[in-house]
Symmetry: none
Subunit: 506 residues, 2 copies
């Protein structure tokens, strides 16, 4: 039964009168926070209608887009849902996190980085092979994973192991897991698909390999982002494709350049949410241009949405796939960033018409993912832990990003100025042209710090030198400051410090 | 508490009175379906006795074999069990799916075969993709796996999960598991290697893919066995290689033919212990010829030792790799046959000189196996369960092979004579030339029995037609006899029975 919501504008307007010394949050964020609070405290209950964005904006005297941004965020997180002509309501199937029961600690007190640095010190070989040195990119916050819940679910799954769990797993993946993924994608990423369209893989490389096997043939051209994720071009080349590096600018992939370089390419592989590694979002115009090209050429787009959930300054952008009426987009997701990489589970959503082709391809190349891990993840999702974990991590990463940026700025403030980008899992520290980001990164690695040089991820374009630093495992500003002291010494040792005159961030 | 089942015949007889326009199911199938329904709906409860086949057949006025065929199917699927003089009862440890309680069916311990048979009925692709119909090839005895021990170890591993277990696993595999495998190979298969030579993969396909990536280039020729395991040629072709089918005779691969057909091939893939599917051992002379050719050509030999442990009439043959002083042999093993396939773990032992090459290749193509399954297997091996399990299975399979051969012979004795081969996990039933093993196998599959036709695994040679029947999940001679009754009826139905004049086995 919808209840009246006429008191909402005043409730929301009060949000602007913050205490004078705290910085005022952006307005959409205040609206979002207040509404979320009203929902979590059950002032607004499931089924309650919230005012139309247009009406609320008028009443508050603000831009409609501001309200829509707040609503978008609430919707992406599952707090509200649109009901067509009925407008937007508080989600009917909303299950609020059981935080009050103290189930899982939000932030562990373990100093994550120091422990891992010790670990790495004993395993020197790990650095080039995905270790957890401080600033390691692409790793989730390992100290904040709900391991107890995970262990409990895993134990349940193992106790219930039957003979059917010992068989060769279906090459497409466990059906119940595919179902959960389809539901999650609909709610969180605006992607509408059937479970049959979801193919489980053992990781991004296997996802790409499956795609190449199903839809490409040897020597096909494929656009890749430049700078980009190095593994993409490696896997393509290994599979016999020709990777065509297409430059990335402030709006993401330069589609026009792609068309100029390889108009008849058979596919494009993009990271629309936060370009890897530049963290820019693919603009709406570019999204439309890319889709138009794909439709015209009957080419395929792989949307690699590896960290699409992690946007801190506005709502997570809906997936490119959500615009894809013509079914040219394949959506690639992974559990490596949102849960943890050791489980080796990822997935690819393919167009309905291509399901049989992918079934054949999967039979050709896949070994299938172990049923055990698939079942644990399924339980984790079904029981609502997945959504809660995502929500907690979005908040935690927002904090860690700020702490890390502040800590680095405080110590290296004379040399660097760091503006955090809207999303992603790493910061970009730009260096003055002429400096070697590779040399500095190499030197940092020698000192036990993970650092990636932007130039190592660049092919054709001559990007300004920059360092890429993961912040997800930096647990506090104090840790960031200590690490920044190390960087400072490294810069001084390598005589680079005095040369660094300006920094900026995307 | 066993209850009386005297109403059963009438219950079953009613099965025959189908509506006139639906095609009547074979009688044994009707009996089977009705009984299964009675069990799943708990009309018959665990421990309830079901009538003796002879008595039921008399009461229904049908052949005893018909009833036995139905019972055989129920027993193979785990719904009923024989209790010696006590007759046949509904299985005591039967746990029916908890669907009625609205739980997810995934965590239940459903009788494997029936569920899968249903599943397969809806997914025609399944039967060829590893389901558990009776006579399924290549599956271990799922009913005899020490699941309790496994669950206990798994729970321990999960409780001990640390942050380092959540990272990307090493692409070569967990070092402690590689160590255990190296030790096992030395003791059991006469293969001397260091842990660094062992590369963990997600299965045989990934093993082959890794090999192709590391040591071959596009269009390289590779000898494969004919008849052979179909996946081998598929993976090679998919990886861009040219598979050269080389005939197999009583001594295994005809090395001289290989040399005649493709003297400069870069590799040969063989199953020396029990050739797949002919079960012959590669003779010592052929082993030496093959090694000599490989040394001369600097070619590679992949020894696929998928079931080398299972030899019943003498001790397991040492691996070909144990003769390999020149380091031309790569040894491929898997846990799918000796533990269970659902875990997706296999391995490849490479020559010491090729370790760096394989490390590079693994980084290119592998996603890495989940640490969880690797750690569980490691514990299973370290604590001695692996060796004990192998020993128990060697004994059990020896018994099941004998029981299955005897049961089939007893019923089909007028048509077939089956001599069990010295090793492996399946029997070969040879048919007279001119008969279509494919047609018979297809007909068996329609009736819910797994059967593989030898001709489906043959490329160039015209092998005498034969059926390949897995025996590892046939739990007694009685079951084998009941299933043989079904085969007999199928042979009669398909008008093949009278044509079958002789059978023999390798």
């Amino acid at each position: 039964m919808p209840t009246s919501t006429h008191c909402l504008p005043s409730l929301l307007l009060s949000a602007q009168t913050n205490s004078p010394d705290t910085p005022v949050e952006p307005l959409y964020r205040q609206i979002y926070t207040r509404l979320r609070l009203a929902i979590t405290q059950q002032v607004l209950k499931p089924g309650d209608r919230i005012p139309a964005a247009r009406a609320l904006a008028q009443e508050m005297g603000i831009a409609r887009g501001t309200v829509e941004a707040a609503y978008g965020l609430l919707q992406a997180e599952g707090y509200v849902q649109t009901r067509g002509p009925a407008g937007t309501i508080v989600s009917l199937n909303l299950q609020l996190p059981a935080r009050s029961r103290g189930e899982t600690p939000t932030v562990s007190t373990v100093p994550a980085v120091s422990m891992l640095a010790e670990h790495a010190a004993h395993k020197p070989g790990m650095a080039s092979n995905g270790s957890t040195l401080p600033f390691q990119m692409g790793l989730p916050a390992l100290d904040s994973f709900p391991r107890k819940i995970w262990a409990r679910l895993a134990a349940q799954v193992i106790r219930a192991t039957g003979q059917e769990d010992m068989l060769y797993p279906p090459v497409e993946g466990l059906h119940s897991l595919r179902q959960e993924i389809a539901t999650y994608l609909q709610v969180s990423r605006g992607v509408t698909c059937q479970p049959e369209q979801v193919f489980i893989t053992a990781g991004y490389r296997e996802t790409l390999h499956l795609f190449c096997t199903a839809l490409l043939k040897t020597q096909d051209q494929v656009w890749t982002e430049d700078p980009g994720y190095p593994a993409t071009a490696h896997v393509l080349t290994h599979a016999g494709m020709r990777a065509v590096a297409v430059a990335v600018d402030d709006e993401g992939l330069r589609v026009a350049q792609g068309i100029a370089l390889a108009p008849t390419a058979r596919a494009a592989i993009v990271t629309p949410a936060h370009q890897s590694p530049m963290c820019v979002a693919l603009s709406l115009q570019r999204r439309l241009d890319l889709l138009e090209w794909a439709i015209r050429q009957q080419a395929w787009i792989i949307e690699d949405d590896y960290d699409g959930e992690y946007r801190y300054q506005s709502r997570p952008l809906p997936a490119l796939k959500s615009l894809d009426d013509a079914q040219r987009v394949l959506y690639a997701g992974t559990f490596s960033k949102v849960l943890f990489p050791g489980m080796r589970l990822a997935y690819l959503v393919v167009p309905p018409s291509q399901v049989p082709t992918f079934q054949t391809a999967a039979r050709k190349v896949h070994s299938g993912a172990p049923l055990l891990t698939q079942k644990i993840v399924h339980q984790f999702m079904t029981q609502g832990h997945f959504a809660r974990h995502l929500q907690r991590m979005r908040k935690l990463y927002g904090e860690r990003r700020t702490h890390t940026a502040n800590g680095l700025s405080k110590v290296l403030g004379n040399y660097l100025e760091i503006a955090p980008q809207p999303g992603g899992m790493h910061l970009i520290l730009r260096l003055r042209k002429g400096l070697s980001d590779r040399a500095i990164a190499a030197c940092m690695r020698v000192h036990g710090l993970a650092a990636n040089a932007l130039s190592e991820r660049t092919i054709g374009t001559s990007a300004a030198p920059a360092l890429l630093l993961g912040f997800t495992n930096i647990d506090s500003q104090a840790t960031a400051e200590r690490l920044a002291q190390m960087i400072l010494r490294i810069l001084q040792e390598t005589s680079h410090a005095e040369q660094i005159c300006s920094t900026q961030c995307t």
